[in-house]
């Protein structure tokens, strides 16, 4: 009995991580910033990029009425993006949740804000919309 509850909790945790793996980051990084403010993004037109130095895909979307304002969302796991959209320059529509993460590199360009894409609820090619 002493071991039952911890085992039950551990089992729940493992299964929980497994079911969320396809749409969320892994549990370690999730726990680090779950207290940070998260922002929902709904059906935003974006563009897929790839940062060589991080080895990560990004989804960037434009800040309206600006010269160069954009939000760049780092995708923690490549498999979150469908294979056919894993191309730099692919134009997409997406919905998800983003958050700031101190472990991400600072903005590289003027007008850029860097976020972590915590959850990707929906992504499809802009041409298919």
């Amino acid at each position: 009995m002493k071991l039952f509850i911890p085992l039950l909790l551990l089992t729940g945790l493992l299964f929980g991580c497994a079911t969320r793996a396809t749409t969320q980051i892994d549990s370690n990084t999730h726990n680090k910033f779950k207290s940070m403010e998260r922002q929902k993004v709904e059906k935003k037109k974006g563009i897929v990029g790839y940062w060589d130095d991080l080895g990560k895909y990004t989804i960037s979307f434009y800040q309206e009425n600006t010269i160069d304002g954009q939000f760049t969302c780092v995708v923690p796991e490549s498999k979150m993006v469908p294979e056919e959209l894993r191309t730099a320059g692919a134009q997409i529509i997406f919905s998800g949740t983003i958050t700031k993460d101190a472990q991400l590199p600072p903005a590289r360009m003027g007008g850029e804000q860097v976020f972590l894409l915590v959850e990707l609820d929906e992504i499809k090619s802009f041409n298919n919309n």
Partner: protein, 436 residues
């Protein structure tokens, strides 16, 4: 037995009521003016010419009143100072009286952090660790008749804005020479991990100075999908290349966006801008500082040369300035030859900028171009600048700050539209230069 508490006797010395305080001492007013200038309420450009000994020229008719309010007389509560005080009061939520009442004095007494109230610039932590920077082009756009030559001139004009306010110089080199700031026009994915998004959307992007971004540091990319032009007015759907370039180079030098609407570093594109705002200047000087002038030659407006005298209705030299009336629907060129010390203290001097002091009385009389020469060699072109109204200290930078050999010349391209005589009037007070 109750204790008797003696009431303190009233002091016989009466304190000055702050509500009644009007600075009478010239030194007090100068302090106030310095404070207002430091914090962005009093135009620092105007204050350069408000010496007590300066005799204001005497223009015709009603123009005298407008001229008075453009100058600041140190130590006097003149119109400009009162106007600046009203701006200060408005910004701080005080009654905008232009008078030093109690509330204003208390606000002025508060310690300031030293940052201009109106300065909303924001800087990145990176900066270049050298002042001589190079730039080069990987490719060009051919939108709207743009050629490499025109693009070179346009980008030099953009760099010149920043050069005129800092110790920085910008020299164009071939792309093969590994320039500090690499410029290119690209569409979609272009190898930096941040693809462009087609027409509309992001117009351009530029990388902050080293060390972030490695080889990309400082580089500026322009979305080829946009419709670029250097003409003013730009026309529907077209984007002014000089303005966007100047904005991007602000990022290349380490500036973030500013909250000040009208500044070059304001995030929105709202049409062509050919000049830096005071906030931009404060921002870039916060990073790199200003420059130390070695020589500042000036020449009076009476020395102006007119290329096409028959296109003027009238020209008058009054005191040390010139006022003229252009014929309707004409263009003209005016020239100043600036007596220039090319060598001083055994050192050959370099050109930072030319400076003009002039005004027009309406938008029917416009300065369109200012070209700067060393002898017969053109060293800078400022085109499509469309200046009218009061311009009491207008700088025109020279991006690469070359050594001066043969003497500075300034050529001013102007246009006059149909209108009344007064609408077609221009006054040229003086012209000068900063040499380092």
């Amino acid at each position: 037995m109750s204790e008797t508490i003696e009431k303190p006797k009233k002091s016989k010395v009466q304190k000055v009521k702050k509500a009644d305080y009007i600075p009478k001492k010239s030194s007090d007013i100068k302090q106030l003016q310095k404070h207002l200038e430091l914090f962005g309420y009093l135009d620092p450009i105007d204050s350069a010419f408000g010496t007590a000994d300066e005799q204001v020229p005497q223009p015709e008719g009603d123009a005298l009143e407008s001229l008075k309010s453009s100058f600041i007389t140190p130590g006097e509560m003149d119109e400009a100072t009162v106007g600046a005080l009203k701006k200060y009061q408005e910004f701080h939520g005080l009654k905008s009286t232009g008078k030093l009442d109690t509330a204003t004095l208390e606000e002025l007494d508060c310690k300031r952090c030293g940052m201009p109230d109106l300065g909303e610039f924001s800087t990145h932590s990176n900066k270049w660790n050298k002042t001589s920077l190079t730039y080069g082009f990987d490719n060009y756009t051919s939108d709207n008749g743009l050629t490499p030559t025109k693009i070179h001139s346009a980008f030099a004009q953009a760099f010149a804005m920043w050069a005129a306010e800092t110790p920085l110089s910008f020299r164009r080199v071939n792309a093969s020479a590994n320039p500090d700031i690499r410029i290119k026009f690209e569409s979609g994915s272009h190898g930096d991990g941040s693809p462009f998004d087609g027409r509309g959307g992001v117009l351009a992007h530029a990388y902050y100075p080293p060390p972030n971004s490695g080889a990309l540091a400082g580089d500026a990319h322009f979305d080829e999908a946009e419709n670029w032009t250097i003409n003013i007015p730009t026309g529907a759907g077209k984007i002014d290349l000089v303005t966007v370039a100047a904005h991007e180079f602000g990022h290349s030098l380490g500036l973030r966006h500013s909250n000040v609407n009208g500044s070059m570093m304001f995030p929105s594109y709202s049409g062509a801008k050919r000049y830096l705002h005071a906030d931009d200047i404060a921002g870039i000087r916060n990073i790199y500082g200003g420059y130390s002038i070695a020589s500042a030659p000036w020449i009076h407006g009476t020395s102006i040369q007119v290329e096409y005298p028959d296109r003027l209705e009238r020209i008058t030299r009054a005191g040390f300035y010139t006022y003229l009336y252009g014929k309707p629907n004409t263009t003209n060129w005016f020239h100043f030859a600036i007596p220039s010390p090319v060598i001083q203290d055994k050192k050959r001097l370099k050109v930072v900028c030319a400076i003009l002091r002039f005004r027009t009385f309406s938008d029917k009389a416009v300065v369109n171009h200012v070209h700067i020469y060393d002898g017969y060699s053109k060293i800078a072109s400022h085109n499509n600048i469309n200046l009218s109204g009061n311009n009491w200290f207008k700088k025109f930078g020279v991006a690469h700050k070359p050594h001066l050999y043969w003497g500075l010349g300034i050529s001013i391209g102007v246009s006059f539209k149909a209108g009344t005589a007064n609408q077609r009037r221009m006054d040229f007070v003086s012209a000068g230069a900063d040499l380092i």
